[in-house]
Subunit: 132 residues, 2 copies
């Protein structure tokens, strides 16, 4: 069963030209990236509090139940695309806004967790500066 057939990389079937350098660090043990739903939940809660609104208020605006919104904010349930959009909307935000905030937190968390933390991350796609 061993690699008798060889790596045989040259399956030249495809010739799409510009290959991006496939990341070949298989598992260099990047410890823990925070779980997305936690970060999203945190953002939602922070925004809600910043607006001084209650779970009930936002939940109704988003057409979801109060306990469920609570669970989302605490990162205990996974928000589907529709629910997330509704919740964001209820806070007067777009998906893009929420994602911005989430990203900021991810970056912040990473820099504290691994101060020299660099993945392929920012460098490549980095410069997205969306202005008004």
């Amino acid at each position: 069963m061993t690699t008798h057939t060889a790596p045989a990389p040259a399956d030249t079937r495809t010739r799409i030209v510009p290959l991006r350098p496939r990341p070949e660090a298989p598992r260099p043990e990047q410890p823990r990236e925070p779980l997305l739903r936690d970060v999203v939940g945190g953002v939602l809660r922070r925004e809600r509090l910043a607006q001084e609104r209650t779970l009930k208020d936002v939940a109704e605006a988003a057409r979801i139940s109060v306990p469920y919104l609570s669970e989302l904010e605490r990162g205990r349930k996974e928000a589907s695309s529709e629910v997330l959009a509704a919740a964001a909307r209820a806070l007067g935000l777009g998906l893009g806004d929420v994602l911005s905030l989430v990203q900021q937190e991810l970056v912040a968390a990473r820099s504290t967790t691994a101060p020299r933390g660099r993945t392929a991350t920012a460098g490549r796609y980095g410069g997205l500066c969306l202005a008004a």
Copy 2:
């Protein structure tokens, strides 16, 4: 370290200082923001193709089944936090990278869909320019 006048930034649990003007356009109708899972799927597929890799390859790296990865890329199934992280990782990206790309697509889509489209969106949190 207790700046006693200022709302100490020391902890995340900051006192919510300024109430943000609650968004009071309740919900007239903002017609269609693209569904998150579609955008995410598109990003995953594009990245995979850019690396010239197959579903099988990436699926194995992410420890998920091939058909399921296909569904994710096509936006037919919702990706949980863990699965999304695994898929991103399998492509050599972090969550932040994926979110960046997703956000870019959202912005792009919006500008085509609603050329004058402005929500509370970009203005407020706009300037996240993450550099190296």
